[in-house]
Amino acid sequence: MYTQALDIPQQNTEAKGPRTIENPAYQAEFDAKIDAGGYIEAKDWMPESYRKTLVRQISQHAHSEIVGMLPEGNWITRAPTLKRKAILLAKVQDEGGHGLYLYAAAETLGVSRDELLDALHSGRAKYSSIFNYPTLTWADIGVVGWLVDGAAIMNQIPLCKCSYGPYARAMVRICKEESFHQRQGYDLLLTMMKGTEEQRDMVQDAVNRWWWPSIMMFGPHDKDSTHSAQSSRWGIKRISNDDLRQKFVDATVEQAKVLGVTMPDPELKWNEARGHYDFGAIDWDEFWNVVDGHGQGNVDRLAARVKAWDDGAWVREAALEYARKHDARDSRAA
């Protein structure tokens, strides 16, 4: 799962960690490496603003993975068959794994997982606002796989070649798993569409609710995107928001035909001259409302993460105390 939030400012992007000493010679070397399409590694010199942008982007992505466990986790205990239960549980577990790789990638930039989680829990950091939408029926599980993971893959494939090596390598692994999730989601929907009228209605209803939020995942239009130009220069962003969105719409509309569902957009039609589908205006007020905390799930999602963290405090303290006692005993014994 993934974040649209690459372009979304957060209230405090000030990450702790080492400050970079600006140096024109190092800067020239860094620029040359970027221009040549090379990778920047953790120990390489990098401009402070590059490091901060990456910390913001990677941590927003990591937070999205772990918050993204919640809407799908909502259906694990109610999955209709044991096979589907196992597939869903394995998928949500994968999202947790993605969170782990991404926090580890962010840690190479000099921030700790605890600091990043604190930013999430205190509301300073953002996560993808798609996860603030509710999963109301079992069909949502299929549609989230098909549309949300589908949009995520479109966003993420260019990141496999992003300029920061640890992030690019994490993304390669994540993309493989996401493709698998998308196929599983689509398969779930195909099965439901072959079922009863009630099941088909359930799928259409889920598509109606998730279509617009999914295409919002690509972020604001290029002309309104605050970080895009600099991120493109740095090789963190390779394809623009609007281009990715168009690619997603073109691919997904064809998949919808095979499935037998329609998108809730009367203006959606093939444009022969452009060679693409045209689509209606996106309701950016809704997008910003959800980003700014007024979506249906914002309060509950964050509260669930904070509760898990707070309820687990005694367990983490116990593990540390046990280790401390045993280190002390071991050193006495030595």
Partner: protein, 255 residues
């Protein structure tokens, strides 16, 4: 698959194994996204997946032995409460991470012994399932045992919570070893052990870990629970209501 020997006791014995895995797997899946650290989210999901995998194999097998055309899902989702044969321990709410880990430790230690014995079952399918499941049970016992020690011998608070969990769960372990004619019939046919025979070996596994965890093992009391005989706790109905909702609401639908 043809089975040379199928008795009602044999079917019930396999169902009991399948229901243990199903119901504890269901409980552990509730943790997904809510664990104390991300690594434990992964581990709990992993153990839940192992158990659901065991349940699928065992319930499929029980359905074939039964010969009434019921598949894993019909058995998992469409029975009434008294027809589930899991140990009461498996259906108890997770409460906190401490109780979840103490339960996993008590249960998976028992499963380790059981799968070991079932590897030589006269029921070849069951023996194959045991050979796969024992590796999982070993990991579960190791993982939960490590946590029991860390929590028991951690802070004063974690010790109190781990002790509280053990005090609460311990009486339910008597049910593991309660005698039943089902076990006698199954043992006579070479399908599997009488569970009451495993008590001494189980205590030998769990006592040293509980001692290392600085926990006090409660004395046995007259308390008895009867989940494996089909008489469950109040918690079971709620678990089933949630787990069965889709199959009950949309009878006959394919998913």
């Amino acid at each position: 698959m043809t089975q040379q020997m199928t008795s009602p006791e044999h079917i019930e014995y396999v169902l009991r194994l399948g229901d243990n895995a199903l119901i504890l797997g269901q409980r552990l899946s509730e943790w997904c996204g809510h664990a104390p650290v991300l690594e434990e989210d992964m581990a709990l999901a992993n153990m839940s997946l192992d158990l659901i995998g065991q349940a699928r194999m065992l319930l499929t097998h029980a359905g074939r032995l039964e010969g009434r055309g019921r598949d894993e899902d019909q058995l998992a989702f469409l029975r009434t409460e008294p027809n589930y044969r899991n140990l009461t321990l498996c259906e108890l709410p997770n409460q906190d991470f401490g109780r979840t880990m103490v339960r996993n430790f008590l249960y998976s230690s028992f499963q380790k012994l059981l799968w070991e014995r079932l590897m030589t079952s006269s029921d070849a399918e069951l023996a194959a399932i045991a050979a796969k499941s024992i590796k999982e049970a070993r990991y579960h016992a190791q993982h939960s045992g490590d946590w029991v020690i860390r929590l028991g011998d951690g802070t004063a608070d974690s010790h109190a919570r781990a002790q509280g969990a053990l005090d609460y769960l311990w009486p339910y372990t008597a049910e593991f070893f309660a005698t039943t004619p089902v076990d006698d019939a199954v043992a006579a046919a070479g399908v599997g052990p009488v569970w009451s025979e495993l008590e001494t070996a189980w205590e030998a596994l769990v006592m040293p870990v509980l001692a290392e965890a600085t926990l006090t093992v409660p004395a046995r009391t007259p308390f008895r629970s009867y989940g494996k005989f089909g008489r469950h706790s109040e918690h079971m109905g709620h678990l089933l209501a949630e787990m069965q909702i889709m199959q009950r609401t949309y009878p006959g639908a394919q998913w």
